[in-house]
Amino acid sequence: MKRSPIVLAGTAVGLAGVLAYNTASSPAVVGASTGTAPVQSVSASASSTTPTAAKARTTTTTASTSTSKSTASSAAATASRTRSATGQDVSFQYGDLEVKVTKTGSRITEVSVVQANANDPHSQSIDQFALPELRQEAISAQSAKIDGVSGASYTSAAYEQSLQSALDKLA
C-alpha cells in the first residue's frame, strides 16, 4: 500500500518525456474519414514494450471528417457550443458499436463488438454486394474482441447485467 505515492510521483515527473517520445515516434493516424482502418497500434507493438508508447495520434480536428452517425446530434451541439482550444468532436470511426455475446449452450464463448447499424459508408459498400448471407459474413468478419468495459461504477447487484460480467464468464 505504501508503494503507490512513490510510483505516482515518478509517473508525474516522467510523463513529459513519455509524451515527447510518443509525438516523435508514433505514426500519425490520417484519413479517419475513409472508413479504412489504419492499424497503427499493432505495427507499433513490435518495437514497443509499454502500451502508452503506442498511444494513437488522432489528427482529426473537425466534425466534418467524421463518419459517425453519432455526429448527427453532435453537429448540432457543435454549432451552439463554445469550443476550447483542446477539445475536438470525437470521430467514432465505426459509429455505434454493439456488443455481441455468443453462447454455446449456457456458456459464454465470445464477446465481440460489431457495428450496430449500416448507415456508415463502410457498411453501405457492403450492402451493394449484399446477399443476406454475404452481409452477415462481412459483419462477423468485422467483429472485434474486447478485453474489458469501462463505465460508471455499477453496484454488485447491477454487475450481473454488465458486459464485464459476460467477459468474466467467457469460456
Binding site: P38, K55, S74, T86, I146, G148, A152, S156, Y159, D168
Partner: protein, 263 residues
C-alpha cells in the same frame, strides 16, 4: 479462479471479487508463472482491495475514514495509507484546477472519487510484482492493465455508452489506465464542487493515462467541469472523452480511440 485455457502459453484466469459494494474483475495471463504462485498473487491482490474497503468505506461507520470525518481520529491515528491517499487527493485537486476536490463538500474529506482507482492500481501492481505476465483489473468500470493480452496487440477496452449498457461509445487501446465516471448507474452521486448540485456538464467522462488513481479523480471532476477541464487533464498527461448531454462526444486531441480493423 478458473483456468479457461489449457495451453501454457496463453492460460487465462478470470476472477470476479465482490468488494467495495461492487465487483472487481480480474483477467490474468500468468505467462509461465506457476499455478500456485498465480493463485497466491491473485489472493494478495484481492487482499489489497478488501483492505482499502476496510479503511476507506463510508458505508462502514467504524472505518478509519468514517471516524476521521467525525473527528474521532486524527490523521496520525489512521493507518498510513489514509495519509497516502489524501496526499494523492491534494495532488489531483491541484492538477485538476480544483475540479476534483474531496474537501469541497460538507461532512469532511471524501476521497471516494479516487480510492477505487488507487486500490485497483495497487492490486495490479501486486500482480505484476509477483511475476504475472499480463493482466487487467477492472474495478466496476475503472480499469488498469499491464503487459499485453497477446504479443500482437494491446488491451482493448470498450467505453460504455451512458445511454445504453449494451452499446459502446468506442474502443480504447494502448492506455494503462481507463476510468469512467457518470451519474447513470448509481444516480446523481457526483456533485459540482462549486454549486453543490448534481454534476451535469457531461453524461459521462472517460479519462486515459498512466495511473488509475488520477484517471479516476479526473473523470469524476470532468462530470462537473465538462470540456472546461480538458486543459488541466492534458497538462497532467492524461486524455479525456466526454459524452455531452445534448448527444455526441468531445475528446482531447490524443485520446487513444482504437482505429484499427475491428477484427
Amino acid at each position: 479462479m478458473t483456468p479457461t485455457s489449457k495451453s501454457t502459453a496463453d492460460v487465462i484466469f478470470r476472477h470476479a471479487e465482490t468488494v467495495m459494494g461492487t465487483v472487481v474483475s480480474f483477467d490474468i495471463r500468468p505467462r509461465g508463472l506457476p499455478y500456485e504462485r498465480t493463485r497466491a498473487a491473485l489472493a494478495a491482490a484481492c487482499d489489497v482491495l478488501h483492505r482499502a474497503d476496510d479503511v476507506f468505506s463510508l458505508y462502514r461507520p467504524a472505518s478509519p475514514l468514517s471516524r476521521l470525518r467525525r473527528g474521532e481520529l486524527t490523521l496520525a491515528d489512521c493507518p498510513p495509507e489514509v495519509s497516502d491517499v489524501l496526499g494523492l487527493c491534494e495532488q489531483a485537486r491541484e492538477l485538476s484546477d480544483g475540479w476534483f476536490d474531496p474537501w469541497a463538500l460538507a461532512g469532511g474529506v471524501d476521497p471516494t472519487g479516487l480510492v477505487k482507482g488507487w486500490a485497483a492500481q495497487d492490486a495490479a501492481q501486486v500482480l505484476q510484482e509477483a511475476g504475472v505476465g499480463a493482466g487487467m483489473v477492472n474495478a466496476a468500470g475503472d480499469i488498469v492493465v499491464f503487459g499485453q493480452p497477446s504479443p500482437t496487440r494491446f488491451w482493448r477496452l470498450g467505453v460504455r455508452s451512458a445511454e445504453d449498457p449494451d452499446r459502446l461509445l468506442c474502443i480504447v487501446e494502448g492506455s494503462r489506465a481507463v476510468a469512467t465516471s457518470g451519474n447513470y448507474e448509481r444516480g446523481e452521486h457526483v456533485r459540482d464542487v462549486r454549486t453543490g448540485a448534481a454534476a451535469s456538464a457531461a453524461l459521462s467522462a472517460t479519462v486515459c493515462g498512466p495511473d488509475l488513481a488520477f484517471a479516476d479523480a479526473f473523470a469524476t471532476g470532468l462530470l462537473a467541469a465538462g470540456e472546461a477541464g480538458f486543459e488541466a487533464v492534458t497538462h497532467a498527461g492524461y486524455e479525456a472523452l466526454i459524452m455531452l448531454p445534448g448527444g455526441g462526444g468531445v475528446s482531447t486531441p490524443e485520446f487513444p480511440i482504437f482505429k484499427g480493423a475491428l477484427k
